[in-house]
């Protein structure tokens, strides 16, 4: 039996990898993948807490968060396509018309 600490540590590490990816990568799609990694790291935490406490509330929140992540992916990829059509690139360092 693996203790809950390991699951939580794995989830925290994945979450931090996601944050670092969002902060240092330049490709909009990779940034979006890192955001998804963060959300899934949280899902892992929720599931392990759910089994630790022995109630299903956490698992229900995971269902909702999966559905929301799917909806977000639809909108996000559409926006990235619109950006690509305008700029012929999804490099966020070149998307700099609006500043200050």
């Amino acid at each position: 039996m693996i203790s809950i600490d390991w699951y939580l540590a794995l989830s925290a590490v994945l979450f931090c990898i996601g944050i670092i990816g969002v902060l240092i990568r330049k490709n909009a799609i990779v940034i979006f993948m890192c955001v998804e990694l963060m959300l899934n790291a949280v899902n892992l935490s929720l599931l392990s807490f759910s089994s630790y406490h022995g109630n299903v509330d956490g698992q229900i929140l995971v269902f909702f968060s999966l559905a929301v992540a799917a909806a977000e992916a639809v909108v996000g990829l559409a926006i990235i396509i619109a950006i690509f059509r305008n700029n012929l690139s999804v490099d966020v360092s070149r998307i700099n018309l609006l500043r200050w």
Binding site: A41, L46, F49, I60, L61, F64, G76, N86, I95, L98
Partner: protein
């Protein structure tokens, strides 16, 4: 549990959501914008009427404690629906003029409003998450409506990436709170609260997520860019209705979820409030684009609202509620007049220098813009002053005198940039002759109503503020406040 009773407690949200579905269906089969707009306005008006009646009705919980109704939730619904209704009224003509009047815009507005209503009534972390995300995803779409213009797509991308990033923090905060207490219900979490690391970290991450959504410094970076790239009347919608919804949920969290003693939450809110007020106002001073100026002004207003939350007293919370209504009225008005000027094609009428001499053509519009800007600046006699007075008075009664002083000074500095458009409109010669078109009756009528409300609530605030403070005296929300 009685299903019909539960459904009736969330009637405004159901009406708006069903109307959104019908709009999508009509839009599939017919290019009938008039019908779609009519249906949108009718459903919002009906929902607004119901939520105004709920203001004086009973309070309680429904759907197994998922949502609360009456009291603060009803007031939140009223402010959100009021803001949405007026944004739709001014949007029709503006979107027609910029040639982007799609049926989907109204469907997205209705769906986003459903999310906001859920967020304002939320009594459970699942509901807060769902409401916030329903609202945000629809707003990402609205931000990118002008997708063939580079700034439009860029605004949408920035909003989307930063919004999704903040969702990660929000959800992680919820997961940690669930881990610390074993429940997602707000009352149960507050009862099981402790000051161990898991609970404090969860609460902190939840606050970070909310700071992103209400654009508090240092999480404000997206606000000016998104507000500039979005069509102006939809910017008004984003900056008023969505901010009101997020702040109502914020009040729920600060007042009921995070009890004192687990950590000094008020201290965190004070620091963020000071940073937000100072930075928002200072950067607004140097803006030449009027939409960016209003965006930084909306950051500064988030700072004033956080002052009321930092006071952490029933008086502070009711002051925030009053301020939200005041902010909704005057900000939609200001964005509405800016949208009217902006419709002149081929001219950059967002640059403040081009406002020179506009005050004497179409004097009505210029006078209304002046009234809204005076109110945003907090000049006595208008609703903005009353809102600021309540918020700062609550801070002083809670012994946060330093915070109140910073707030008043920041607000005094803000008068400079609010008066600048008026100086250009009335005291500078026009460089070139700008022909201003006549606006339609719906557009002008709604701006006139907003002007009247700005003055009315500025002169006679007592009735409403008594109603708001009654929500926090002796009812179930006051009982769940941990002393």
């Amino acid at each position: 549990m009685n299903y019909l009773h539960d459904l009736s407690t969330f009637l405004p949200g159901i009406i708006v959501g069903v109307a959104g579905l019908i709009v999508v269906l009509i839009d599939c089969y017919k290019d009938d914008y008039k019908g779609i707009v009519g249906l949108t306005i009718a459903s919002l008006t009906a929902a607004l009427a119901i939520s105004i009646m709920d203001l004086f009705g009973p309070t309680g919980e429904s759907f197994y404690g998922m949502i609360s109704y009456g009291g603060v939730a009803a007031f939140g619904n009223t402010v959100i629906l009021f803001g949405t209704l007026f944004c739709v009224l001014i949007s029709y003509e503006y979107l027609e003029a910029i040639d982007h009047n799609f049926g989907e815009v109204y469907a997205m507005i209705l769906f986003a409003t459903t999310g906001m209503l859920g967020l304002a009534s939320a009594n459970n972390l699942v509901m807060i998450f769902l409401g916030l995300e329903t609202m945000s995803i629809c707003l990402y779409v609205l931000a990118g409506i002008i997708k063939e213009r580079k700034t439009g797509a860029e605004a949408a991308l920035k909003y989307f990436l930063l919004g999704a990033f903040s969702t990660g923090f929000l959800l992680y905060g919820m997961a940690l709170l669930y881990g610390a207490t074993g429940s997602l219900d707000i009352q149960e979490i507050a009862q099981a609260a402790s000051s161990d690391l898991l609970f404090v970290a969860g609460g902190g991450l939840l606050l970070v997520g909310f700071f992103f959504k209400v654009s508090a410094v240092p999480f404000h970076m997206w606000t000016p860019d998104v507000y500039e790239g979005t069509p102006t009347t939809l910017t008004a919608y984003m900056s008023t209705a969505s901010k009101s919804a997020a702040f109502i949920a914020f009040i729920t969290i600060v007042s009921r979820l995070l009890p004192e003693g687990t950590a000094d939450w008020s201290q965190v809110l004070q620091v963020i409030a000071i940073a937000t007020m100072i930075l928002g106002n200072i950067i607004a001073l140097v803006q030449d684009n009027i939409k960016r100026m209003l965006a930084y002004s909306s950051i500064a207003h988030a700072g004033y609202l956080l002052v009321g939350l930092a006071a952490a007293t029933p008086e502070g919370y009711s002051a925030v509620l009053y301020y939200l209504l005041a902010y909704t009225i005057m900000n939609i008005g200001a964005f509405g007049v800016v949208a009217y000027y902006e419709r002149q094609h081929g001219l950059d009428l967002l640059d403040i220098n081009n406002y020179a001499g506009l005050g004497f053509k179409r004097p009505m519009m210029a006078v209304m813009l002046s009234i809204f800007l005076f109110s945003l600046a907090g000049i006595p006699g208008f609703v903005g002053f009353v809102g600021k007075y309540y918020v700062f008075a609550a801070a002083i009664h809670a012994d946060l005198i330093g915070l109140a002083i910073v707030g008043v000074l920041a607000s005094a500095a803000s008068v400079y940039y609010y008066l600048r458009p008026m100086v250009f409109m009335y005291m500078r010669e026009a460089h070139k002759d700008i022909p201003l078109v006549k606006s339609g009756w719906m557009f002008k009528g709604s701006l006139i109503v907003l002007t009247i409300l700005t003055i009315y609530f500025g002169i006679a605030p007592a009735d409403l503020s008594h109603l708001l403070s009654s929500y926090y005296s002796g009812d179930w929300i006051a009982q769940t406040l941990i002393p």
